[in-house]
């Protein structure tokens, strides 16, 4: 296969953005939207083709492109394995939905907004397909620029504060990773991930390097106690921005943990497992409790994201087959569910311009369609069997029980708390008496909203009942990762 399919996935949105750049903004923005939509849909189709052409029986990287970039130092190297391909598809799937959803939420400078989103998509696909540490870092950091603008220009009242917090927190985390990446180059003589997997990194360096990578991923995940940028950024970002942030950006760190922390520093990962467990359990319980107390719907979902990402980090560092597979599925599922939840909040926000829970109540009697879909997403978020949320959480807890009983029990409490805040939110917004007079005039879902939400509901249900396509894709890669990890530990 010589056609550079991954590079075209990365480049296509940027090319689309370039097109948009030369289109004049006029009264109705339909041309702009169609161009953006067309680009992302094509990208989605390419990624689906990628999934079909992908060979599930091997864990080696596929569709590899390897070109000299900086002579004798860095190669532009991209490729996918079972783990990364799912994230790429998640990205290409969520982005067109974001673009459809901007109809209502973004009023001014639509063209610039779409350009930011498209460029963001390029960078995110880049992150998931990079097979060189420097290339990875490049994409990882570059994403800050469009996201900063999305929050800052189109956000709500405290947008400037949130944008700065988001940018500086993540930058601070990442610069240490840069030190680590350059150090790896001087220690091993390469930054090529595939080669590094083979060579391995000397044990005496692993702990420090692991911590440097951790500092970056922990901020991006986000893990407690460096999660505070997330609620601010989420609340102030426009709906499409929140969706991108929750569905895809947060997954970059989880992916990074699997690909780099586990893959490159097996011994250190073992050493720091208690740290991750502690932070994850605190994140799960503590942020679930905080979520219970929120009055702002978006903030509640943001805190629930932190709790869900706590499950993800917990699962990854169980270093068990089930745990890691569960984490990956949990990330994919959270990508779908949190995107859907932010969109559902966006729907009522566009109509009522309030995110406060107290504004609402009794929605079920005025907008039934909306209430049903909201119900589905809330249940998926708390991990009801039959939704994709259940599969991930269940596998993670299974892995955790194998590894550490206490941690697993504590994490299970988080599941209950998750059900509590989600159901309570649903009860307060949808059930109860219709007290607010303005709500009586609220309109139910329009066509595009209906389309977006149901296209998110479909995979949530489908993978809930039949997760095999996901598990088959990742299984070999994860098994291989675990084997590699165990041989590394054994040989130390």
């Amino acid at each position: 296969m010589n056609f550079p399919i991954l590079s075209s996935l990365i480049l296509l949105p940027t090319i689309g953005a370039l097109f948009l750049f030369f289109i004049k903004e006029k009264g109705d923005n339909s041309t702009i939207k169609y161009v953006a939509l067309f680009t992302t849909v094509v990208n989605f189709l390419i990624s689906i083709y990628l999934w079909i052409a992908f060979d599930q029986s091997t864990s080696t990287f596929q569709f590899i492109e390897d070109r000299t970039w900086i002579k004798g130092f860095i190669n532009y190297k991209v490729g996918v394995d079972g783990i990364s391909i799912l994230f790429i598809i998640l990205t290409t799937f969520i982005t067109p939905l974001c673009i459809i959803s901007v109809n209502n939420s973004v009023k001014n400078r639509l063209r610039d907004f779409l350009i930011s989103i498209l460029i963001m998509e390029s960078f995110m696909i880049g992150v998931f397909s990079a097979l060189d540490l420097v290339i990875f870092y490049l994409f990882f950091e570059a994403g800050l620029i469009p996201m900063f603008l999305i929050i800052g220009i189109w956000g709500g009242a405290r947008r400037v504060y949130s944008a700065f917090k988001f940018f500086l927190y993540t930058l601070l985390g990442s610069v240490l990773m840069l030190v680590a990446i350059i150090s790896i180059y001087w220690i091993t003589g390469t930054t090529d991930v595939v080669q590094l997997y083979e060579i391995g990194i000397d044990i005496k360096y692993q702990n420090l390097l692991w911590l440097a990578f951790f500092s970056s991923f922990a901020v991006k995940t986000p893990m407690w106690p460096v999660h505070t940028w997330l609620p601010d950024a989420h609340v102030e970002a426009p709906t499409a921005g929140s969706v991108l942030l929750a569905a895809i950006l947060l997954k970059m760190a989880g992916y990074g943990f699997i690909r780099f922390s586990l893959g490159l520093f097996p011994v250190a990962s073992e050493v720091f497992t208690p740290l991750i467990y502690t932070l994850s359990v605190i994140a799960i319980i503590f942020t679930s409790l905080i979520a219970l107390m929120q009055e702002d719907m978006k903030k509640l979902i943001a805190y629930s994201s932190v709790a869900h990402m706590g499950f993800v980090t917990l699962g990854i560092f169980t270093l068990q087959q089930q745990g890691i597979e569960g984490s990956i599925i949990q990330m994919i599922s959270h990508g779908l569910v949190s995107a859907a939840l932010f969109l559902t909040v966006g729907v009522v926000y566009d109509r009522m311009h309030s995110r406060l829970i107290s504004t609402y109540g009794g929605l079920v009697s005025v907008i039934p369609k909306y209430s049903i879909l909201f119900m589905l997403f809330a249940l998926a978020s708390l991990g009801l069997p039959g939704t994709s949320g259940f599969v991930g959480e269940f596998l993670i807890l299974m892995g955790a029980f194998k590894d550490n009983f206490l941690v697993a029990v504590l994490a299970s409490i988080g599941v209950i708390l998750g059900a509590a805040y989600m159901l309570w939110l649903y009860k307060r917004v949808v059930f109860g008496k219709l007290l607010n007079e303005d709500l009586k005039k609220i309109l139910d879902l329009n066509k595009s909203e209906y389309f977006i939400l149901s296209s998110l509901a479909a995979p949530i249900l489908f993978f809930g009942f039949y997760p095999d396509p996901l598990i088959n894709t990742i299984e070999v890669s994860v098994t291989d990762l675990i084997n590699m990890h165990n041989t590394n530990i054994a040989s130390k």
Binding site: K71, V134, Y137
Partner: protein, 472 residues
């Protein structure tokens, strides 16, 4: 017989200066023609430099007091290109203030001549001669807008402090001469050894003098005032061209005469570097005048170039040179933006004048956005690679403290760059600015922004050019 072809660029540029002076005396109203001729002269000098010296590995002239090597020719070319672009985008600004006179291009040419002599110097006396030639021209340039109080103040401050630093430098040179018995760099290098404690004083004095010239902390005090007070085009000149020359001399001093004394100076350079990076980042946060802010940001950037020098390795020197080259492009682009903030013959230089720029001037603010993110060192823009190479060299020598402090100060620095972006993109718009800019101004902004944006596609070329420089 010496091969005078090697110093043909210097000869040509001094002849041009004399010719232009005479032309200015005998012809009335000759400012326009002087401008054009001096541009032409610089272009020809660039061509001569490329033709005559670019392929030379290392040659010396005049009893080894002048050296032509790959570093000197590269730095001369960057200096000349910088000078050319500054001159070419100055005219509108100067005309606005009615200071579009013949002296301006001639002063710029003379300071460039001084810098070229500095860059090629392999002898304390030749070095000092070049330094004074460029400094004298720069004093006058700082006061060039003589009707404005601030400009005169800037010139005077610059003169006093710079003269002080030249004095220190001279004192250091005399001490070094006293211990080595020679003014020639190569001879000094073989004569010096680290046993002599008084010699350390000589080195320190010389380094302090040089640190003054490139405005490294703690010898930076003059920079913000002078940058703010001088005419904007002169500030642009200050922030790029003399820094290239001073950096070259810095490299030359550290790695030729003082090569054997690395233990003595390495800590000093590390300190200068860390102090500049941290102070440049922190002090810029409170600034409201863009020119002052750029002054502090340039102090920070000098810190990063010094970090490369502190490594005592060829890679470090090369990374510093790459850094300064990219820095020149970024600053040129930033000032081009600044020169576009003109409304009815008035230039604006307060941060709040940028408010809401993105609504009225989307293209200009997009360029500025890219430039600022690049200055902050965010990938995939050129500024990231500049920092990347420097830290790669620094980490090769296992200087982790320097690298970590440097990278953390980029986070602090990112804050004030973000603040400007915030004002441009998130705040309410003000009145529109004029859009009838000169073609050259647009040209320099477009080209430099494209270079910044697309550098990541062809990163190898610059490295290849620079990798010919092997000082150690």
């Amino acid at each position: 017989m010496e091969n005078l072809n090697l110093i043909l660029p210097e000869i040509f540029i001094s002849l041009s200066i004399m010719f232009l002076l005479i032309l200015g005396v005998f012809k009335n109203d000759s400012s326009k023609i002087t401008f054009n001729l001096s541009l032409f002269a610089i272009l020809i000098t660039i061509i001569i430099t490329i033709n005559e010296t670019f392929s030379v590995t290392r040659e010396t002239l005049f009893n080894e007091s002048v050296v032509i090597d790959s570093m000197s020719s590269l730095m001369k070319i960057i200096t000349l290109i910088g000078g050319f672009l500054v001159l070419v985008i100055s005219s509108t600004y100067l005309k606005t203030f009615k200071i579009y006179n013949i002296e301006y291009p001639i002063l710029i040419l003379s300071s460039i001549l001084g810098m070229m002599v500095m860059i090629s110097s392999n002898d304390l006396i030749v070095f000092y001669m070049g330094l004074e030639l460029q400094s004298l021209a720069l004093y006058v340039l700082a006061t060039y807008n003589r009707d404005q109080l601030k400009s005169s103040e800037a010139g005077l401050k610059y003169f006093v402090l710079s003269a002080l630093s030249s004095g220190l430098l001279l004192y250091g040179c005399s001490l070094v001469y006293g211990f080595s018995g020679s003014t020639n760099f190569d001879t000094i290098s073989s004569q010096l050894n680290s046993e002599e404690y008084v010699l350390t004083f000589g080195i320190v004095f010389i380094l302090v003098g040089l640190a003054f010239k490139i405005s490294a902390v703690p010898f930076h005090m003059w920079a913000p005032d002078v940058y703010e007070g001088s005419p904007t085009t002169v500030t642009l000149f200050f922030t790029i061209v003399p820094k290239i020359a001073a950096l070259t001399v810095f490299i030359r001093f550290l790695y030729v005469p003082f090569l054997n004394l690395i233990d003595q100076w390495q800590m000093i350079i590390v300190f200068l570097s860390i102090a500049s990076m941290v102070f440049g980042a922190v002090a810029a946060i409170g600034q409201t005048n863009i020119k002052r802010l750029i002054a502090y940001s340039s102090i920070g950037h000098i810190g990063y170039t010094l970090a490369g020098l502190a490594t005592a390795s060829n890679e470090g020197i090369q990374s510093s040179i790459i850094y300064i080259s990219i820095y020149v492009v970024m600053n040129l682009a930033l000032f081009s933006c600044l020169l576009m903030l003109r409304r009815k013959d008035q230039y604006y230089e307060d941060i709040n004048d940028l408010s809401g720029l993105s609504k009225n001037h989307p293209l200009l603010s997009l360029c500025m956005l890219l430039i600022l993110f690049s200055l902050a060192g965010i990938p995939p823009l050129a500024g990231f690679f500049a920092k990347f190479y420097v830290f790669k060299a620094v980490l090769e020598q296992s200087m982790y403290f320097l690298a970590i402090v440097g990278l953390l100060s980029t986070v602090v620095a990112a804050f004030y760059y973000l603040r400007i972006i915030k004002i441009m993109y998130f705040d309410k718009e003000k009145d529109k600015y004029d859009t009838d800019h000169s073609l050259w101004l647009k040209f320099s902004l477009t080209v430099s922004t494209i270079l910044i944006l697309l550098y990541f596609i062809f990163p190898s070329q610059l490295i290849e050019v620079v990798s010919r420089i092997n000082i150690i």
